[in-house]
Symmetry: C2
Subunit: 403 residues, 2 copies
């Protein structure tokens, strides 16, 4: 690895590190002649039960990590989508997913990395360390840098005790705003779910149909899907009770509670496959993120835009995080400019609401132009200086993030 | 603020940002002529219950934050020591504290900052955002940079639902290694404490005496102090039961369980004041951190060094984190060189065990020489490039971290 980068740096050959290829911002896409650096054969993974750490090579998959932790009686709390994603990629894009509200994102779990710099040096940053404050945190800088500052080859990832009981609950509402305003109330009564997802019934029904499955909640147009994970069955029951009391007080439609593992897996499967169901007609999946309490405002604004542009913008998202995935769908007769115009209007609204154009998918190749438009000048200048310090010849993933 | 930095930058005047002055690495100490920039009058704080966010100015204290969150029915999960610490300082040094195992450190809670750069620009990085992946994470870089990259003036800090019940448990052991080997077993049975502290009876008894209090556990020389915080009394009881079953299985001395708020506060008070009790005769408090399962090895090595150097090195630490605070005490006839020699030997052992010279206190002024000795050359070079990009004239806290 070191040799490849040394040679590439010497002869100024672009290098494109590639993990599982499951990212949604084309951060691993080779966009010019160069070397595609696949890490898939560096796939060892082992669990250190006494330090609660996984040691994983970059090419191990999310699925491998979840399985290895489980076999050791421990738990990797995140679930950032596709289980074929590689550890290196999860770190490169600081993956998030449905469980970020309670457990945080990838950068909260990575405690150490081995990284090969574009100039050929190998750095070990952190390690099996729960705390480390020795100078600037270069590891945190590399996490989320989308393969532009270094090639992560190995990582030490903190695991947690395994929750002993979980339930998936669907709460239906007739009114979208009422659904989203329910979210902070959950926290305020002291309940702390692993996930709170917002879905629209029409879209999940459509997805379920494609999968030959059935979404269990038949009422209401707007659904919150919650996952509760607790340390015991008794604790879970109590949290469910608190939640049901709140439902009654607020006045919602009839909630569905799934406790059997299979039932829960089916609901999660349908939720996870919404993207696949839309994929064929999809032009772009947006990753707009606003303060959670502004999510209803964002959806309403987007619906107005959909009317204005006479198009359909399916939406679902991580309601606890304010992370809304909006889908720009193929429209007969539209050119790139038409999609760009609509996207820009959505991004402007997002920024107005105190948000960001990407909460978890990153900039990659597809958002470079928008990023340039919306990022602060000075911040961009600093990022470019950092890129130059790490990669003076601009060989590593050279046309990502920046344009 | 901006004007001060613009003028200072123009005339190359050093600026020393100062928060509560509670840091333990002298990161805020003015070490040459210049401007001391106190942020204590920027102390507003407000809670946004719907977004679970505190908006705090840099000069608000940790105590203010805890109180404001509590009054809003929410919870700030960290407790990094002195409640007089300022928010700006907590961010500048990425504060940790006793609760890092379950809840993480400061960088896991800071979701947005307003920062004034040494060149006078004001950046807003992040916001009331649970997720943000828009380019390199400059905010994460600034967190832990000890006031050398920018002056944090405001922050958005994520709060959590309040745990409804807590207990403090002291488990005594006759054998140190047995005590520390008990720690991973706690996680393996699925119990996830808020804190696991390691103390030695002699030292806590001594501290309690100075405070006119009494440490409730009379047995054993080595104690683990655990805090459990759960969503309900019932859940707490079940976790306590699991823990007591483990105690019986492993064979420990008689544990003490404190459930009343006052009892718990007294135990925490004694634990928190160990540092104060030692302060008068203290030369240096170390902040060595190793993989948690290596903590017994580190303590044993340090005890050998204490014998070799014929001195006393009191120790306590965050057992769940592998973060051990070792105290170099005044010794008749010793010069700076003697203390330096001992410290270096401790640091060498720490690094051998896969550790770091500072887990939570940072480099500041006091650890600059050691940092230079133990940091990777290339990593240091990158840090210096970053410093140069942010602060081309080296005016901001100019002699901290780097030498």
């Amino acid at each position: 690895m070191r040799q490849i980068l040394l040679v590439a740096n010497k002869y100024r050959v672009p290098v494109f590190p590639r993990g599982g290829g499951t990212g949604l911002a084309a951060a691993c896409m080779p966009t010019m002649s160069g070397i595609i650096l696949s890490l898939e054969r560096m796939n060892k993974i082992s669990i250190d039960k006494d330090n609660l750490m996984a040691e994983a090579e970059a090419g191990a998959t999310l699925g491998d990590l979840i399985k290895a932790a489980d076999e050791a009686g421990l738990f990797f709390p995140l679930h950032p989508g596709d289980e074929g994603a590689h550890i290196g990629g999860l770190i490169a894009c600081n993956a998030g997913g449905v469980r970020a509200i309670k457990t945080g994102v990838m950068r909260n779990y990575v405690k150490g990395i081995e990284v090969v710099l574009p100039t050929g040096e190998i750095l070990i940053l952190g390690g099996k360390l729960v705390k480390n404050n020795a100078g600037y945190d270069l590891m945190q800088l590399i996490i989320g840098s989308e393969g532009t500052l270094g090639v992560v080859t190995k990582a030490w990832i903190r695991l947690q005790p395994r929750p002993q009981a979980s339930a998936t609950i669907i709460i239906p509402f007739e009114d979208r705003r009422k659904a989203l305003e329910f979210v902070p109330k959950i926290f305020q009564i002291g309940v702390f779910p692993l996930a709170i997802e917002y879905v629209e019934k029409e879209l999940v029904d459509q997805t379920a149909k494609i999968l030959g499955m059935s979404w269990p909640c038949k009422e209401g147009k707007y659904h919150l899907m919650l996952i509760l994970a607790e340390s015991s069955e008794e604790a879970l029951l109590l949290e469910c009770e608190k939640l049901m009391d709140l439902c009654e007080k607020v006045g919602v439609l009839e909630p569905i509670i799934a406790e059997r593992r299979e039932e829960q897996a089916n609901i999660l499967k349908i939720r996870s496959e919404i993207y696949s169901a839309l994929k064929n007609e999809l032009i772009d999946i947006l990753d707009t993120t606003v303060p959670p309490a502004k999510m209803a405002d964002l959806i309403e604004s987007v619906n107005k835009l959909a009317k204005k542009y006479e198009t359909y913008i399916p939406a679902f998202g991580h309601a606890g995080d304010g992370n809304l995935h909006l889908h720009l769908m193929r429209k007969e007769g539209w050119s790139k400019d038409d999609y760009d115009r609509l996207r820009d209007e959505i991004y402007e609204k997002t920024i107005q609401l105190g948000g960001t154009i990407t909460g978890e998918h990153g900039i990659g190749y597809v958002r470079r132009e928008c990023f340039k438009k919306f990022v602060d000048r000075k911040a961009l200048e600093l990022m470019k200086e950092i890129k130059k310090a790490f990669d003076p010849n601009n060989i590593l993933n050279p046309d990502k993030i920046f344009i």
